[in-house]
């Protein structure tokens, strides 16, 4: 039992990431439609989209090389790997020890790296434009992300995710300025990383404003399905990472299987709230010009660095 339990948790976690991520996206869409007074296609629409795409045949660009074809699998694999190491429902996650927060950021980086390459592989202006912009956003967002999670890991004296969640879970609820800064920064970065408004708009195909969509413009069939799924997982993971780092309460502690149901419920509630928050932001704000994005991310970067500084100065 003792040895099986972590493996169960691991399997369960991967399953949750795979299954629940489209649900989160669906939930966000539904809420958004409500907020904008439209009728929604229901919470399960993303599943239908994915299955439809899996059924479809593939049309490759003439110029596409093996990089273009292998990218979806790598993106999917890397994102799922990330999903396997973030403690979502329980802190004792065996794989969590194999890759810490730095590796987590790097895993997302791999996915992005290959997506950008794929964007340039087909040889359109769009692909290149998308990659260029994506890498611009990333090159500012990634360090900011590292900074903000570093702040957390300074607080918790560890970079190993489960230990971070664990320590934050252990010590009593107290208001730390550093964590507040870090959370704010993290929120901004999450928006940028997942290409949500105001940085990017996942539901547009207007050439001049696209970032992420421009890169995957030429994808079709299962390739597109994998990429879409991966991006859903990414949203899910960022949300759950945020909650498990900053609001870890309710997550199952070390070998406490009894807590798992509670953990489920709390996770669901938290993610629902996150979704709501996203919707609020996306309906309130308009997409900003591409060259405003650096300022946006710069703000995030400054916030996270401030968080770190305030840890050193105030705590």
């Amino acid at each position: 039992m003792k040895s099986v339990y972590p493996l169960l948790i691991e399997a369960l976690q991967v399953l949750i990431v795979l299954v629940a991520s489209p649900l989160l996206v669906g939930w966000v869409r539904v809420l958004k439609c409500r907020a904008q007074g439209r009728r929604s296609a229901g919470v399960f629409q993303p599943y239908r989209d994915l299955s439809k795409l899996f059924m479809k045949d593939i049309v490759l660009a003439e110029n596409a090389s093996w990089v273009f074809r292998v990218t979806p699998y790598i993106v999917f694999g890397a994102t799922l790997m990330a999903g396997a190491i973030i403690p979502i429902i329980s802190v004792d996650l065996p794989l969590a020890a194999t890759a810490d927060i730095i590796a987590l950021v790097a895993l997302f980086a791999i996915a992005r790296f290959f997506t950008a390459l794929a964007g340039m592989d087909i040889g359109t202006a769009f692909g290149g434009m998308g990659s260029s912009r994506e890498m611009m956003v990333a090159s500012l967002a990634e360090p900011a992300m590292l900074m903000s999670v570093f702040t957390v890991s300074l607080v918790s004296h560890s970079t190993s995710l489960s230990f971070m969640a664990h320590t934050l879970l252990e010590n009593a609820i107290m208001l730390r300025p550093s964590l507040a800064f870090a959370l704010l920064a993290f929120a901004l970065i999450a928006i940028a990383e997942n290409g949500r408004i105001p940085v990017d708009n996942p539901s547009t195909h207007l050439e001049l404003t696209m970032i992420h969509e421009a890169m995957i413009l030429e994808y079709s069939g299962r390739h597109l399905a994998l990429i879409e799924w991966a991006s859903m997982m990414k949203l899910f993971l960022f949300s759950s990472l945020g909650v498990s780092l900053f609001f870890p309460w309710g997550i199952a502690g070390a070998d406490a299987p009894a807590m798992l149901p509670l953990a489920f419920v709390s996770l669901a509630i938290k993610l629902a709230l996150v979704g709501a928050a996203i919707v609020v932001i996306e309906t309130r704000l308009a997409k900003m010009r591409i060259f405003r994005v650096p300022e946006f991310l710069g703000a995030a970067f400054i916030l996270s660095t401030l968080g770190m500084l305030s840890f050193f100065m105030l705590e």
């Binding site: 045949d57 593939i58 049309v59 490759l60 003439e62 110029n63 090389s65 990089v67 999917f76 790997m81 794989l95 020890a97 194999t98 890759a99 810490d100 730095i102 590796a103 790097a106 895993l107 980086a109 791999i110 992005r112 790296f113 390459l117 964007g119 340039m120 040889g123 359109t124 202006a125 769009f126 692909g127 290149g128 434009m129 260029s132 912009r133 890498m135 611009m136 990333a138 090159s139 500012l140 990634e142 360090p143 590292l146 900074m147 570093f150 300074l154 970079t159 190993s160 230990f163 030429e218 299962r222 994998l226 591409i290 060259f291 970067f301 660095t305 770190m308 500084l309 050193f312 100065m313």
Partner: protein
């Protein structure tokens, strides 16, 4: 020769047979020198010369590799005395784990590049005489190894300058184009000034000892003795450190002493630039570590702080410059500046920790530095070799005219991609492991007693993170523009794949950089003897399945298991692939979406300049940019409907105008003024001597 046990019988006599590491390394040095001496004799038969030279250097590198590896592995220190040099100052040679490690790095890349060169240099045969290349290539390698084993100031300087001179001739190899000559000139000038500064720093360190009554005060052992016995006052120690830092920094290419690098690397043949960028810069790092940790002993924390700041500046500015380059090799050169910066960041951290007597942390940072040195040697070597085979296959260095090489070069492309992945520090490739260690040593900093540092270090971490992200972006650009997309150059360019030996060299490097990324635990375990020698402590904390993990301080602080991550990604990818290919689906090829605009041409792709454009918008203030765009065609037509537009972007290294041009202007101004002395009128000359006489008489 006090303090130097006469161990290890040299490579001659029975020495060859015993496995004394120093014996092996010096044997390989002798082989290199012998090859260099042999080459002119074979000048008439270029083909045989090619074969013998590079096969020989391959062999010699292997010998050196074994020696260096052993020295680190059983952390042995052996020394010997070669009866050359001044009569009472022979060449003292010594191989300890530190020099052994660097010798290993040199030898690894030396081996790979020598294999590569067999094919690469063949393209010169018949075009020009390869004799100088053969001679100076071997001298260069010999010089680098000599630098590492030298154990007194004299032999160190001799080998240091030998290395510089050899590489100078290699840079000037294609001497008929003026750019190469100019590059060689700038390179040798900066290198020589740096050498003189190093010399002065040695003067400080040895002078404090016996006051030069005898030459033995030039040996490193007596310098160590001085530092230990406190003969050197802190002020002099600081002077020695600063002189050494800037002397070696000139060679390492730290900002702002980097200007020779982007000139020299493109000018040199690619195998040479691989060596220069991969290992020659590292010898400078070796010098800094040797002087600060070994000879002087780090005492002041600001030394480390200074190194850290230099590292940060070099890393950030280096990568920013790299991002804006369009010349592939130039870009790689700037990225070397960045990586040297990254290495120096860790070195600086290690010095800071050492100055506060925090052995374990210092060891961690040191390991991060060494690991990145090793990685950078491998993947930068790989990238330069790749650039070389692009140059060799497509005769193109300007990325604006490349594209779609992946179709024409099925081998070079993936190998180059591996290089890009690991230089962008993406797991599971090698770059990530060292970056991970560097971040760990940053995150362990809060235990520092100095508040100033505590504020400096988060910024440092931020800059390091930013640098890493920008590096990833830079190499997306490189691979995407050069290898992906469609060919932008002239239609009738016959692009062909590199030959076998070139592929072999690159493949070796690629495999190595994957291995270094996947099995860091082994590597760290191997190189732990270096920090244990320098700061008397090691990093690897005990944990189950030690080979599987790197756990710097304690498992609950941080742990990273590259093999598992690698396997995890692999298995997920495989699973997805298999599941999706269970059902057969047709794959059609179709034209790309041109959003209704029929006349898409290859030149409409995003190219390097346009890819870097957002960055120019953000960091433009760092560069001196001249951007012009004008319409060609009939002037009275509306600007909308001109038949072609010419866009021109001039991008210059601002440091050139900040420091170097003023310096040269100043010296020419001074020489004009001094020239006035030679006035031509004999009466004036007589007046000089008259006045001199009067003045001296007044003083006497």
């Amino acid at each position: 020769m006090q303090g130097i046990p006469f161990k290890g019988r040299g490579p001659w006599g029975r020495g060859v047979l015993n496995l004394d590491p120093l014996g092996l390394v010096s044997l390989s040095i002798l082989v290199f020198l012998a090859l260099a001496g042999l080459s002119p004799l074979l000048a008439s038969r270029q083909k045989t010369l090619l074969a013998i030279t590079f096969l020989g250097s391959t062999l010699a590198s292997l010998i050196a590799l074994s020696g260096g590896f052993l020295a680190v592995y059983n952390s042995s220190t052996s020394s010997m005395i070669m009866p050359v040099g001044l009569p009472d100052l022979p060449f003292y040679l010594r191989l300890d784990p530190l020099s052994g490690f660097f010798a290993t790095v040199v030898a690894i890349l030396g081996f790979l590049v020598s294999v590569y060169s067999i094919g690469y240099v063949k393209s010169f045969v018949g075009v020009r005489s390869i004799t100088p290349l053969a001679v100076f290539y071997n001298l260069f390698l010999a010089g680098m190894l000599l630098v590492l084993v030298a154990d007194d100031a004299y032999s160190f300087m001799v080998s240091w300058e030998l290395m510089a001179a050899a590489s100078f001739f290699l840079v000037a190899f294609e001497d008929e184009n003026a750019k190469a000559r100019k590059a060689a000139f700038i390179y040798i000038l900066i290198a020589h000034i740096g050498a003189v500064m190093i010399l002065l720093s040695f003067g400080v360190m040895s002078g404090a000892a016996s006051g030069f009554e005898s030459f033995t005060s030039y040996t490193f052992s007596s310098m160590r003795a001085n530092a230990a016995s406190g003969h050197i006052t802190p002020a002099w120690a600081a002077a020695a450190f600063l002189l050494a830092l800037f002397g070696f920094g000139a060679k390492a290419g730290i900002i702002p002493l980097h200007v020779w690098l982007p000139e020299a690397h493109p000018a040199a043949p690619s195998n040479v630039s691989a060596l220069m960028s991969g290992v020659m810069l590292k010898t400078a790092i070796y010098g800094i570590i040797r002087v600060s940790f070994d000879l002087l002993g780090v005492t002041e924390w600001w030394w480390g702080g200074l190194v850290l700041i230099i590292g940060l500046v070099s890393a950030l500015i280096g990568i920013l410059f790299a991002l804006l380059q369009v010349d592939l090799k130039r870009l790689l050169a700037y990225s070397s500046v960045e990586n040297i910066g990254v290495i120096l960041i860790s070195v600086g951290l290690s010095m800071i920790f050492a100055s506060f007597k925090m052995g374990a942390l210092s060891a961690l940072a040191m390991i991060a530095a060494l690991y990145h040195i090793l990685n950078h040697a491998v993947f930068k070597g790989l990238l330069f070799m790749g650039a070389g085979s692009v140059l060799h296959g497509a005769h193109e260095r300007n990325m604006e005219r490349m594209g779609g090489l992946i179709h024409k070069m099925p081998w070079t492309a993936p190998l180059f991609l591996v290089g890009c992945l690991s230089i962008s520090s993406l797991p599971p490739f090698s770059g990530f492991a060292s970056e991970w260690l560097a971040f760990q040593s940053f995150l362990l900093s809060p235990s520092l007693p100095s508040p100033l540092l505590n504020l400096l270090i988060p910024l440092g971490a931020a800059v390091l993170a930013l640098t890493a992200a920008l590096a990833a972006r830079c190499f997306v650009k490189v691979f995407g523009v050069a290898f992906l997309g469609a060919w932008r150059g002239s239609a009738n360019a016959n692009v062909h794949e590199a030959g076998f030996s070139m592929k072999a060299g690159m493949a070796g490097a690629a495999v190595l950089s994957l291995a270094l990324g996947v099995f860091p635990a082994f590597v760290i375990g191997w190189m732990d003897s270096v920090p244990s020698m320098l700061v008397a402590s090691t990093v690897q904390a005990e944990s189950p399945f030690g080979w599987l993990w790197i756990t710097p301080v304690a498992p609950e602080r941080a742990s990273y298991s590259a093999p598992i991550v690698f396997l995890g990604i692999l298995s997920f990818v495989a699973a997805a692939y298999l599941l999706l290919h269970a059902r057969k689906t047709a794959i059609r090829r179709g034209p790309i979406w041109d959003c209704g605009f029929e006349k898409l041409t290859n030149r409409m792709q995003y190219n390097s300049t346009s890819f870097a454009m957002p960055l120019r918008r953000i960091f433009g203030f760092l560069f001196s940019i001249k951007e012009t765009s004008r319409a060609q065609g009939n002037p009275n037509a509306s600007p909308m409907f001109q038949d072609r537009y010419v866009y021109n972007l001039k991008l210059r290294d601002r440091f050139w105008y900040l420091f170097y041009k003023p310096a040269s202007d100043l010296s020419f101004w001074a020489s004009r003024k001094v020239g006035r002395l030679q006035h031509g009128r004999i009466q004036i000359y007589l007046l000089y001597s008259f006045v001199t006489l009067i003045v001296l008489l007044m003083f006497s």
